[in-house]
Structures are given as structure tokens and as C-alpha cells.
Amino acid sequence: MRKIRSERAVSILLGITGIGLFLALWETIGQFRLLGLSWPPITDVLAFLQDPSRWPLFSRALGATLEALVLGYIIGLFAGVLTAMAAYLLPPFKPGLDRTSAFIHAVPSIALAPLLIIFLGRNSTPSALAALSTFFVLYVATSSGLASTERQWDDLLRVLGASRLVRFRRLNFPAALPTIASGMRLAAPASLIGVIVGEWFGAPRGIGVLIINAMQNFQIPLLWSAVLLTVLVSLMLFGALGFFHTLMAERFR
């Protein structure tokens, strides 16, 4: 126990050291203009973010991005999990559904975005791209979670006279929950990328819009602030869903 705890302390320490080194490097490159004007010191970016007069701008952009993210993520989550369940319960359809979802995944969102703009409009495209990438991750995670039920439990439920549906409800689904939660964590950053790419193609507002505008107008501190915000949101989501995954693994394993 003590060993585990000290190992964890070491890994946290190493992590903090790593981040510290990274930030120091960033600051040095910026201060001495090692990579030219487009690489500002981190302190400049933070100062830019801290200025209250810019908060309404950031919060409006962040709000729009998060709204699109949550909507797309939830749609993709349910679609992915439900489709994988259908594929599991209706084996004849599984190969077709596997191939369809792999195909959806293989089409790059950059190529899909203009089409979605035409079909769904500018407002819905970010959510749609987020939903598509979430869908694929959750489809794969749910399918593999459902397929990996241990044989001893399957035997038990058969001996108890459980139908396929009852086995699904009492065994396969609960046993798959940790894998599904792990897919939910992996899908979050991918989903955020989907939203930002969608916003680049002309959403009315959002972090992605901020990034594009700042880039085109050479507003370097604004550009970096928007990127930093994106990274922070992504890390926070990843962390929160990682915690959720730990809970599920603890509960269902």
C-alpha cells in the first residue's frame, strides 16, 4: 500500500516537473523571440487572458463551443452505444454496422464539414462533427465491451435459463460499462476537435471562430489565448471523464 502510494507520488511529481519544464521552455522561447514574433511568452498570453475587458468575448465563444460540444457528444454517445447494442443483439446486422461505422470514421471531418454546412447549416455543423467522432469511439468501445464478457458468467446465466435479452440486461451490459466509460473519456478530446473544425467552416461564434479570426488578423496573443483555452477545456473534460471511468471500473469490475 505504502509502495503504491509512493509510486503515485513520484509519478505526480514527474508530471508536475514535466509541465513546469514545458512552461519554462515556452517562456524562454517567447522572451528571447527564438521563434520570431508569432511565439509570445506565456506570461503575455496569461496577461491577455486575465484582462477583464476581454472576458465577455471569451465566455461567449467558450459558451457556444461547449454548447455545441455537449449536444454533439451526447447525440454521438447515445447513437454509438445504441447502435453497438443493436449490432450485438441482432448478429446478422453486425458486419454491416461495423463497416458503416468504420466508413464514417474513415471520412476526414475536414472533407465532411463543407457538405454538412450545406445540409445542416452553419449552426449545426460543429455539433454534427462532434457527434460523428463520438459515435465511432463509442460504437467500438461498446462493441468490444459487450463481446468480452467472461465465459464463466455467461455459463452461469445460461444454466439459470436466461434468454439472450436477459443475459444482455443482467450480464453483458453491466460488464461492458467500464469499457464504455473508457470510450467516453477517449471520445471527449476527439469530440472537441470536431466542434472546432466545424466552427472554422463558418459558425457564428465559438473558440474555433476566435482562432480563425485571430490567425487571419495576426492577433498573436488572442490566437494563443484561444488555443490555451481549448487545451484547458480538453484536459478538464478528459480528467473528469477519467474520474468517471475510475468509478465505473471500481463499481463494475
Binding site: W153, D155, L156, R158, V159, L160, G161, V166, F252
Partner: protein, 278 residues
């Protein structure tokens, strides 16, 4: 304990079993081959025959790997014979399982890790779509000595405790046929003896047709009407012994000279060349 004993027996009157009791489980001339990953075939059982009359208790003894669990899995309809026939009450064994009348305690207990002890014991009711009989669940948990652990999760229990939960679960639906695969393998000698005594008592109240796999000769003799000794792989019957002790059996039969004599006989049968590890 006393109170509970009364409850369990009043709910289920003892059926009288005559000498001409019908056949409940029949395994006739069964050969079971497994195909291994490298393409070779492994013969686990060959020409194995076995018959259990309704309400009888049969124990299977044999060296490790001789196919004892395979027989239980065949009777539980989890495997199909490569040759020969398995029938329960003249029907394919899958019918008994489908009508929720089969109780099985596996060698590896197979508790669901996300359910606590009580929910694991209640599982057969839920799978069968029946209302959970809470009192029966509690009685069985008490009976296997796990009162106070109702809300514990399987990973918080010892191996022997998990096995006992599995036994309670196997009994909870009042099965018509009970299959026990080394159910007391992980228990210490004292608890094992207590469990044997309890199982003997429950069984005497409601003679469920039971097939027990065990490595312990004295356990087989104390519990069973008939003990079957199997050879090493491929498993065949090398010795059948009808146990003469009257029921209900008291623990002190285990101290009688007759018990010791039979126990030596069975141990010899296990040790004989055809019964040793093949």
C-alpha cells in the same frame, strides 16, 4: 439456525422416494472430444455412462483433468457430447435449464462482481422473472454462514466465502437437479465439515437429485448414496460403490470403522494404475 431449519422444511415437504424411483439423469456411452487451438483433438471422456435415479445423491471422484467438470457441463447443457446421449427425465438437458429448475455451483463460483452477496443470491429469481423471496434468500445466506455479509461485494470475500455464496445461489430456486463442482474446495477442514453437515441436512429434507464432484473421499462417503470413481483421462468409470449408511447421517458415522474401511477402498481405487493420473 433452529428457527430457520423449521421454516425451510415446512415450506418443502419431503417427497418419499421408493426403491423403484425413475431415472432422473442419464449419461449413456458419452464421448467428449475437444478441439485444441493447435488443431489436435483431446478426448476428455470416452464411453462414459452414469445414471442417477430421482432423489439420489451421487458423488464423482477422480484425478484432476479426468473430465469430472466436463460431465457436469454436459448435464448442464453447456457442452454437447461428441458421441452418446445425455438426458434429464428423458428430455434434452437444455429444457431443465430453460425452465429454471437446475441449480449449479461451479468450480470457480462465478459470482457477478457488481452485485453484493444478497443480490447474487437473488439473481436466479430475477433471471426467472419471479418475485424475490426475501426470506428464503436470507435463510440461505444464514445457512451458509454469511449473515452480516449481505452487502459485501465478491471481491471483499475470501475464496471459501465466495463458494458458499455460490451454493446458496444454486439452492435458492429449489432446483429439481443440483450440480456441485468441488463446492467446498477452498474451505478449511472445519468449515468444510460444517458445510457437509448442513448440505446433508438440507438434502435429507428435500432429496434433490444431486451430482457432486469432489476430491475428498470422506466428503463423498458422508454425503452420497453412491460414489463413482473415474480413471485418468480419458475419463471412464473404474469403481462404483453404494454407500450403506442410513439417513439422516450424523457426523459420527465418519468415525465408524465401516466408514474408514470404505474410505480406504475408494482411496485404493483412486490410486490403482487405471485410476491414477494418465
Amino acid at each position: 439456525m433452529k428457527k430457520m431449519r423449521g421454516r425451510l422444511s415446512t415450506v418443502h415437504p419431503v417427497p418419499s422416494v421408493g426403491p423403484q424411483a425413475p431415472t432422473a439423469i442419464s449419461v449413456s456411452e458419452v464421448t467428449k472430444k475437444f478441439r485444441l487451438d493447435d488443431g489436435r483433438e483431446l478426448t476428455a471422456l470416452e464411453g462414459m455412462s452414469l445414471e442417477l435415479t430421482t432423489g439420489s445423491f451421487v458423488a464423482l471422484l477422480g484425478p484432476s483433468g479426468c473430465g469430472k467438470s466436463t460431465i457436469l457441463r454436459l448435464v448442464a447443457s453447456l457442452e454437447v457430447p461428441s458421441k452418446g446421449v445425455v438426458a434429464i427425465n428423458g428430455q434434452p438437458p437444455a429444457e431443465l435449464a430453460a425452465s429454471h429448475r437446475l441449480g449449479v455451483a461451479f468450480q470457480d463460483h462465478a459470482l457477478l462482481p457488481w452485485l453484493d452477496v444478497r443480490a447474487n443470491v437473488e439473481l436466479p429469481f430475477r433471471v426467472a422473472g419471479q418475485a424475490v423471496d426475501r426470506r428464503r434468500v436470507q435463510d440461505l445466506i444464514d445457512l451458509v454462514g454469511l449473515a452480516g455479509f449481505e452487502s459485501a461485494r465478491p471481491k471483499q470475500l475470501s475464496g471459501g466465502m465466495r463458494q458458499r455464496v455460490a451454493i446458496a445461489r444454486a439452492l435458492v430456486l429449489q432446483p429439481e437437479v443440483l450440480l456441485l463442482d468441488e463446492p467446498f474446495g477452498a474451505l478449511d477442514a472445519v468449515t468444510r465439515r460444517q458445510m457437509n453437515i448442513e448440505l446433508q441436512r438440507i438434502w435429507s429434507e428435500r432429496r434433490i437429485t444431486t451430482l457432486l464432484v469432489t476430491h475428498a473421499v470422506d466428503e463423498a462417503l458422508f454425503l452420497a448414496d453412491r460414489v463413482i470413481v473415474m480413471s485418468g483421462r480419458p475419463g471412464r468409470v473404474v469403481r462404483t460403490l453404494d454407500v450403506p449408511f442410513a439417513r439422516p447421517r450424523q457426523p459420527d458415522v465418519m468415525r465408524s470403522s465401516e466408514f474408514h474401511r470404505l474410505s480406504d477402498e475408494l482411496t485404493d481405487a483412486l490410486d490403482s494404475p487405471s485410476g491414477s493420473l494418465g
